[in-house]
Structure formats: C-alpha cells, structure tokens
C-alpha cells in the first residue's frame, strides 16, 4: 500500500498551499473538489487515475466521489488529447439539428474515430451529452469556447485555420 502511495504524482508545495487556503473557505473539503480538479488538470495536463487518487487523498474523499465529478463534467479529461478538443453535443436538441452528421463529417475529414486523436496530435473528437446550450444547437465545444449553430462548412474553416497555425492555439 505504501509503495502504491509513493508512486502517486504529487502536487507542488505551492499548489498544496493554495489548496489549503481553498479548503479553508468551505465548510467541507468536498466543496473544494471542482477548483482542485481544475488545478490538477492544469498541473498534470489530464486527470489520470493516479491524479484522481491524489486529489481524493488530498481532500480526504472516496476515490469514487472524485471519479463521479471528473466523469460528469466533460471539461475534465481522463486521457491526453489533441491541441484542439472538439466536443460535439449529440443530445436530443443537437441531434435534431444535425449533430450526428457533424460527427460523421469531422471523423471523415480528420480520419479518426470518435474519441480518437489525429496522428499530428492536433485534434480529438468526442461526443458529449447536452452541453446546456440547446438554443444554439448543434453545439461544438472547442477547448473552452462554445461554437453554436455550426455546420460542416464552419468546421472545415476551423480545421484549415487550426492546421495553418501549426498547433499553436
């Protein structure tokens, strides 16, 4: 057990200080989970199982409590992904407005499957549940920005531009 614990990634001491301040703000350490997950994702790029264990240990939570939050929000990533993460909402509203075709188009253009990353490491395409912006359906979230009422042509433009920038966001 101690061997496993030692193998866990660690927060920097500066981070730990920040986390401590954060926890002190809430009645329960659990309330600090979302901001701490953001910090962890910033530090470790994505939230591997080990990072999730670290977060659980740091906040004194069950690992499952952390897993539930990490998987609920699509803004948290459990795997490394491309420079551009294209999250296509395929829930009812977006589906009725062409989300399925959009996913197909993206996968065909980028020659990857849903969940896959292009070999140049530029793009990852995933399907997500309702992004909460149904009025703008179909919605694609690209990194932290929502792109609403998008269609295939719109995405083509985006892809060409992104490629042009050679991977710099």
């Amino acid at each position: 057990m101690s061997a496993v614990e030692q193998a866990l990634p660690q927060f920097s001491s500066k981070r730990l200080e920040e986390i401590k301040t954060l926890i002190a703000r809430y009645p329960h350490s659990r309330s600090a989970l979302l901001p701490v997950l953001h910090m962890a994702q910033e530090d470790f790029e994505y939230l591997s199982m080990d990072v999730q264990k670290l977060v659980a240990k740091t906040l004194g939570l069950h690992l499952m409590a952390v897993r539930e939050v990490v998987t609920f929000y699509t803004m948290f990533r459990e795997k490394p992904c491309g420079t551009y993460l294209l999250e296509v909402c395929t829930n009812a509203g977006c589906m009725l407005n062409g989300a399925d075709e959009l996913v197909r188009h993206l996968c065909d253009t980028l020659e990857i499957k849903v969940g896959g990353t292009t070999p140049d490491g530029l793009f990852t395409v995933t399907e997500v549940e309702c992004a909460g912006a149904c009025a703008g359906a179909p919605v694609v979230q690209i990194n932290n920005a929502y792109h609403e009422k998008v269609d295939a042509a719109h995405m083509d433009v985006f892809i060409t531009e992104a490629r042009g920038q050679g991977g710099k966001k």
Partner: protein
C-alpha cells in the same frame, strides 16, 4: 399529526412524512424504484408520481412531504399515462431479457411494466450496452439492465460506508461503477443484490440456479455471530439456495458471513452420518454402533465437555441434562476466548437493545473490532455517526469501521485499568461516585488519559458502553468489567446492583448460557490442561472447534493427544483427526428450536429444512446418549424438554406460550466484586487475537464462498506498529513452545506500539496463547 386525504380517504400521519410513505402506511399503492425506507431520498426515477389537488403538475411523492388537508390521488387516467411514459423512458435501453434474468419473478421493473407499461415498444433506434463489473465473489452484474435509481450508490455511501459505488458520466452515457481492487470492501456487500430493484446487481453464488417462485422460505436465525439476525432461508427441496434478511425482521441488512455461510450446509465437512474410527480412519457406522462406541469410551469415566454456544436453546439445555444425568461433576466449558473465569465475566450479553444503543446520547466502543465482530450493530452505529451523533472508541488499533468514529484513543491492553481509574478520577471530581469505586481506583497505580474520553461520554444523560474482546479476553477481565460497572453506577446509568453494560459475547445465547451453565462452567483452557494432566479420561466436543478457534488451540491439541475424543456436531473440521466417534447433529437450519441473541431477544424457528442425511437434532442425540449410558431420559419430546429449559430460565416460557414478551435477561451475579489488580503483565508485548469474519468459526471455515472472500480480505498473520518490531515486515519465522512456523508480519501506523495482533492459528500453535514469542532474527 398531519391529516390529509389519500384517494378521498382521510388519514393522519406524522408531520414530515413523505406522501409516498403516507400512502404505503395506508395501503394505497404507488409504484416506485429509487425510494428505499433505509436510504436517503434521491427522487430520480420519477415513477412515484401522484396528483395533488391544486397543483398543476404531478408530484414525485417520495420527496414531497405531506401537508395539512392535502388531497392526494394515486389512481387517475392522467397518472396512468404518466406512468406509462416513465416506463417507456426507463425501458429505452433495457435489453428486455426477463427470461434469462435471475430477477425475473421478483422484479419491480417487470411488475410495473406489466401493470403500467405499454404493450409495445416504440423505440427503434440503437440501444446502448454497458460493460459489466467484477464486484468480487458475491455480486454479479448485468449493468445494461440498470435503471440508475442509485440505490446501490446510496447503500455504499450511507449503509456500508465504503463509498465504492458511484455514478459515472451523465445523460445517456450515465452508468453505475464500482471501484474494485479485488472485491467490494464492505462486509455487507451481499445486500446489494437485494437492494437493486432490477436485475442489474445479482447474487453471484445463486446466479442461474433457481427462480423466485420455486423456493420455499424458512424463518430462521443466523447463529454466526451474537447478533442473531432474523433470516429467511430459501430452499428448493432440501437444498439451500439463498439466505436473506427476513422481511420485517429487526434489521434490514445481514452481513456476508451470515448470508453466504450456507454452502457449508452441503459441504464435504458436514457430518451426515455416524462414524467410528477403525484402523486409523473414520468409517460410516450405524447409529447403534456409533453410540455404543461413544458409551464405551465415556461410561464411568471422567469426562470433559466442550461445546459451542451457538446451538439452539433446547440443544444447549439437553447438554446440561446429559451432564446432570450421567456426568455429575464433569467439567463443562463453552468459551474459547476467555482467560479470566471469575464470576463477573459470566454475565454476558447486552443490557440494552440495539435500538437503545443507537438512540443513546453517547456510545463508547471499548476494545472491539466491531465491524468484523458485529457488522450489523456497527452498521447501526454508522447510522448514528452519519446523523451527527457521537461514537467514540478506545482500543489497541484503529479498527476499520468504514465511517470514522467521532473520537478515538489508542491504548495497550495493559493500560485498561489505568484508563478506567482515570475515568473514575474524572467523574468523582465531578461529584459522581458509587460504593466501592474509591477502593477500586486506589488499587490502580497508573492513570491513562484515554480515560478522559470515557468519563466525558459517561457524563452524558445516556451512555452505552460496548465492551469488546480486548477486555473480555483480558487476563484481568473480571476486575476491569467490575470497574466499568462501578463507573456506570456512579454516573447514574445503572442502579446499584445492576451494571447497564453491554458485554459482547463470543457467541449466541449468552443470557441463557449463564442461566443454564453458570454453576458448572469452567475455562476451556483449564479443562484442556486437566485432560493433559491426566485428570480427565475423555473429551466430549459438541460443535466446538478449539483448534480452529479461540485462545487454547495449543492446549486443546495437547489434550487430544492424550485422551480420546468423542465428537458430536454438524461440521467435521480439522479436529476430526482426533475423533474416535462422530455423531451427526442437525444444523441450525434444520432444527425446530429457539435462539437467544446478545440482546436477549428470543426467536423460535418452526419450519426447518429437512435433514440431508442421518443427522438428528442435538437434543435427540443427547437423550440417546443418556439412555445408552444408563440414565433416566429427562425428555422425550420438545415440550418436555422445554419444561426443563423453563426450570433454568423461567423467562423462556413466554416465548413459547405467548408471542409478545420475547426478551429474556441474564441471570446476573450482582454480588461479586473484584478489586483492581496490581499484577504486572508477564510479558513485554501484549498479544491480541484478531478476528476475521471470513475465517472464525467451524461453519465459516467449511464454506468455500467465505473462504474465497477470506483470501481477498486476508489479514496479516501478525500485525504490529512499525516500531514494535522494527523492520520485521514480511515473511518471518517464529519460534513458539510448540515449534517453528512461518508467519506474515504486517505493520500499520494506527496500531498501538507494543502490541501483537495475531490472526494466524493452526496446528503449530496459536501465538496468542504463548507467553513468550520469539521472532527469529527479530526482537519480541
């Protein structure tokens, strides 16, 4: 009280009740999935919709509290439409595979689909499939059938306290997952299959075995720990298929030990026919021959009787009758975990009911691994902790409870008297005292500050002390227990002459045992020593396995090397190597009889399973022995036998004559007093024998299912604080008086330094009965 109308009928319920509960109480049917009386309200299945006059939408009844004058309707056309839609929604991804699902016939989803669902599905799109999980030996999964009611998740959080089930992802991707290293870490995991309203979480051992309508249900009592849970044994013919908590029983849950021990009923370890030893081996014999052999061995001899406390009340009493009829003056023992046999320690069992314990202002666990010992009681305490009520603990290890106690103090067993003395000092400083307390306190030199925790709890209006194995197996148990009694009296939790203490017994029937055997009982250790010293000629072992359980395995072995053994019981076990004769006695599932649990609650089993072989109820075996030994048979039927029981324990009469008064109290010795001892402990390290619910007890060792779980939850043979045996972790050879053996030493920071927790037993000897332990290459 709140008055409201349900379908035009006026009913009154406690304020704050939910509409769903009000309907259930008053016989109005409302369908539901996610609601469970023992769990928090999640309100996520939306099946429980009802109409409330003046509300413009149907309301989820499980999360809507009643209000004065509310008019609720549970049967309307609109509601039927809503329910049909809810069912359609819940069934969208369901595989509709009832014919191959174990839940079929006892499934809410199936029932409601028939009652409220449409006859055709309209969903023609792709259905999703969900990966299954390996949740260990007891729970199998078919997650595609899950309707996401989250009962299992709430169970893991609130009841088991392990938090190892959870909801991952959201929307259409939502799925239930379990975090599993090897298997679910809860000792209550078997309840998951009961709690899942559909066929997603299933009972693994009975998977694909039977259909709910094929089984016969037998009301019975689990005897695997002193809790004595109310169980229903489900059987097909004489084969046990499952054990479940009884519906409307005292407790909604049972533990995995009590649930899965049933495969031992049919194991190869069962004694199903009389056997006698012939040219080295045990061979089948007729009852006549076997009894003849037993009589030959025992007639006119000095006999020592060791029996298990877990037989029925009738069976136990028949042992006493045997003793009185033909072995007058024999040594009798049934306790394999007690070193101090002075009178106070005779009086066992709880002075309070589990409900009173749960409700009292303070609860203090004194030296017990309660989660392993009494998982269901621990669950009650967990409920308390979750409700913000304190549970504190003093003990030699931070025993895992899955929900942390509110306060906690680590002490060595040798410090108990100093702890009690310090508590006495504290309470007497606050003006609380009892006759004899000052003298007791004065007899103890040291003071240990953990006593503060105890004193604080005792100063509350109500306080429950749970006295566990660390004290019970203590060399000075009687004095410690007396000290605790004084404290309880001083603080007004017990009247003079009473104790109010809850001493956790080793097995079932503690109150009855003190009534029936109080005057003839000796220590098992002494009895074995007597046999080794030539003071006894033969041992009669009735269901007990002193080699596999308890503190005296070394002495037991020496004794059996010396004198012949007559074994009566249901499980053969390793001890059978020594048996000259084996007489089969019926299992607890197979007898008509009564059982008393640690609270003193009596339960009578009336429709037992039929026997598998030639075994007979224990009392019949005893009567036969009396007859063939030339004694007068005291009872020829159960009624006559019960008349004898009543002679020893008059309160039992109620259980058989009327059905209300179902509790008995122990025959307590109120006069004995025991001064605190000043004896210095004989060794430098304290030894505590550690209990594993998957390994202790002859029945459990005969169960493959529990043995498998035992491997997954294996305990270190020896567990210490890292400073106690510096660098000793890993495989080590240990030298004891009975030879060398290899043990696995583990270490944990939250064990008090200076203590060896010993879990390993076996032929080479139980470390915990050694006065000197020598770790080869290490200090001890």
């Amino acid at each position: 009280m709140t008055a409201l109308y349900i379908n035009d009928e006026e009913v009154t319920v406690t304020p704050g009740t939910s509409i769903l509960e009000a309907c259930r109480e008053n016989g109005a049917e409302v369908p539901y999935f996610c609601y469970h009386p023992e769990l928090s309200v999640a309100a996520n299945c939306r099946m429980c919709l009802v109409e409330i006059e003046g509300w413009n939408k149907p309301a989820a009844s499980c999360c809507t509290p009643v209000a004065e004058g509310m008019k609720v309707r549970t049967q309307t056309e609109a509601l039927e439409k809503d329910r049909e839609m809810m069912m359609e929604y819940l069934l969208i991804h369901h595989p509709l595979d009832c014919p191959v699902c174990d839940q079929g016939g006892a499934c809410k989803l199936q029932d409601y689909a028939v009652e409220h669902g449409a006859s055709h599905g309209r969903y023609a799109e792709m259905k999703r499939a969900v990966v299954d999980h390996d949740l260990g030996p007891f729970v199998s999964t078919c997650m595609t059938r899950c309707i996401h009611c989250t009962r299992c998740v709430r169970f893991a959080d609130e009841v088991a306290g392990t938090g190892d089930m959870g909801v991952l992802d959201r929307g259409d991707h939502m799925r239930i997952d379990g975090i599993v290293e090897d298997c679910l870490s809860s000792e209550l995991s078997g309840n998951l299959s009961d709690i899942c309203p559909v066929g997603a979480l299933l009972d693994k051992p009975s998977h694909d075995v039977s259909r709910p309508w094929e089984v016969t249900r037998h009301k019975s009592t689990c005897t695997q720990c002193p809790q004595g849970c109310d169980i229903t044994i489900e059987s097909r013919g004489d084969e046990v298929i499952r054990i479940r908590p009884e519906k409307d029983g005292m407790e909604p849950w049972i533990c995995d030990r009590g649930r899965y021990v049933y495969d031992a009923f049919r194991s190869e370890q069962r004694i199903l026919e009389p056997k006698v030893r012939e040219s080295g081996g045990l061979v089948a014999a007729s009852w006549d021959d076997a009894i003849g052999r037993a009589v030959e061995l025992m007639k006119g001899k000095r006999v020592g009787i060791v029996f298990s406390p877990d037989w029925s009340v009738e069976g136990l009493t028949s042992i006493r009758l045997l003793n009185d009829a033909v072995f007058e003056g024999a040594k009798v023992a049934f306790d394999l975990h007690r070193r101090d046999m002075r009178s106070f320690a005779f009086e066992e069992g709880l002075a309070m009911t589990t409900q009173q314990i749960e409700d009292s202002g303070q609860v203090v666990i004194l030296g017990s691994d309660l989660r392993q010992r009494l998982p269901v009681l621990m669950q009650r305490l967990r409920k308390r902790i979750n409700a913000g009520k304190p549970v504190s603990r003093i003990g030699a290890m931070n025993y895992r409870t899955n929900t942390e106690p509110t306060k906690d103090s680590l002490i060595r067993p040798r410090d108990w008297s100093a702890v009690i003395a310090f508590a006495m000092q504290q309470v007497s400083g606050l003006g609380k005292t009892a006759a004899g307390m000052d003298a007791w306190m004065a007899g103890v030199e040291g003071r240990h500050e953990a006593g503060k925790l105890l004193a604080d709890a005792l100063m509350d209006d109500s306080c429950a002390l749970l006295v566990g194995e660390e004290i019970r197996s203590h060399e000075d148990a009687a004095a410690l227990i007396y000290g605790l009694d004084l404290l309880m009296r001083a603080c007004g939790h017990a009247e003079a002459g009473k104790d109010g203490r809850n001493l956790i017994s080793e097995g079932m029937n503690p109150q009855l045992l003190s009534s029936v055997f109080g005057d003839v009982r000796t220590s098992a250790g002494e009895l074995f020593d007597a046999a080794s010293n030539g003071e006894l000629d033969v041992l009669l072992l009735i269901g007990s396995d002193p080699q596999g359980d308890g503190l005296f395995s070394v002495q037991a072995k020496q004794a059996m090397d010396k004198v012949p053994l007559v074994q009566v019981g249901a499980i053969s076990g390793q001890i059978s190597e020594y048996a000259e004769v084996q007489l089969p006695a019926a299992a607890y599932s197979e007898v008509e009889g009564s059982f008393v649990n640690m609270e003193g609650r009596i339960r009578v089993a009336e429709n037992p399973l039929s026997s598998l072989g030639a075994e007979r109820p224990l009392w019949k075996v005893m009567m036969r022995l009396i007859q063939d030994m030339g004694g007068d048979i005291p009872a020829v039927n159960l009624d006559e036998l019960r008349a004898h029981v009543i002679r020893f324990a008059p309160q039992m009469e109620h259980a058989w004559r009327s059905s209300d008064e179902l509790m008995i109290t122990a025959a307590r010795n109120n006069t004995a007093t025991h001064a605190s001892s000043t004896k210095a402990p004989s060794r430098s390290l304290d030894l505590i024998s550690r209990y594993s619910m998957y390994r202790e007890g002859a029945w459990v060792r005969a169960s493959d299912l529990l043995s498998e779980a035992g491997c997954l939850h294996a305990l270190d043979d020896v567990l210490v604080h890292p400073n106690t045996l510096a660098g000793a972790e890993g495989e080590r050879v240990v030298r004891t008086s009975s030879g060398e053996q290899s043990v696995h030493v583990g270490s944990r920071e939250d064990v008090v330094p200076g203590v060896l927790f010993v879990a390993k037993r076996g032929v080479a000897g139980d470390l915990s009965s050694e006065s000197e332990v020598d770790f080869v290459g290490g200090a001890a």
